[in-house]
């Protein structure tokens, strides 16, 4: 069982973002257009489009040509593929290292601020 495919990496990176997780949650109730998906967020439609692109590249969502609407659909098979224990292990490790990044970022910021004070 090897689980280091680029596809999985991109799926986990895609799901690491809270906006993208909300989009996935919304899509679980049925397909939606970019406009509909953008509604609950206080960010621009372009930003939401970018999030959708990331999800699309990770194969978590697909878009169909439905005249002008181009609704976004969830790809449940992709989500199901993340359920093996090793993927949960990965999700957790990923989470830990993201917390580590955040912690290092904030302590680097503090050091920077101190350096400026001196």
């Amino acid at each position: 069982m090897i689980s280091d495919s680029t596809a999985l990496d991109s799926a986990f990176l895609a799901l690491a973002d809270p906006v993208r997780r909300s989009i996935i949650a919304r899509l679980s109730r049925g397909p939606a257009t970019v406009n509909e998906l953008a509604e609950p967020f206080e960010i621009s439609k372009q930003a939401v489009s970018k999030h959708i692109q990331v999800l699309e590249q990770a194969q978590l969502v697909t878009r169909t040509r439905d005249a002008q609407r181009r609704p976004v659909h969830l790809n449940p098979a992709r989500l199901e593929a993340l359920t093996a224990w090793i993927d949960q292990y990965r999700l957790v490790r990923e989470g830990q290292f993201r917390s580590l990044d955040a912690m290092l970022q904030s302590s680097a910021g503090q050091r920077g601020a101190k350096a400026k004070e001196q």
């Binding site: 090897i2 989500l79 292990y89």
Partner: protein, 160 residues
Amino acid sequence: MSNSLKLSVPEGLPFIDYEREFDFPVADVFRAHKEPDLITQWLGPRGMKMEMDHYDFRSGGTYRYVHTGPEGVPYEFRGIFHTVRENEFALQTFEFGGYPDVVSLEFMTFEDLGGGRCRLRGHSVYPSLEARDGMAQSGMEGGMTEGYERLDELLSAAKV
């Protein structure tokens, strides 16, 4: 752009290997593994209280910490640091209290990549394949609940 985690779980061998780069100097990442005050800021899952009993990150030192979930269930982890070399290498044992005597070896290599970046490589060795799969699974109950919750949330949403 975030650095992604490379993970490999070989078939038929009780190992887990991972690799992760950081946009921070090797000394910072090493320090984040060394100082208990820093460890508690990133190792424990959110939503769980991480209580550090002791954590002595040097050759021959020992550690013990407890994660407590929202329902008050404690998950104990403990082990010994066999070898620690500053900014370079660490080898420790790791035991989850829920699986007594099933101890893994955790090799960690810290590598300076220059330009203020570094790479962390991990190699976990379990006593058996069953231990690897079982421990990784139940170890997650304590240390890794957040990942489960997040995934459960997504999956249950997807099924509605």
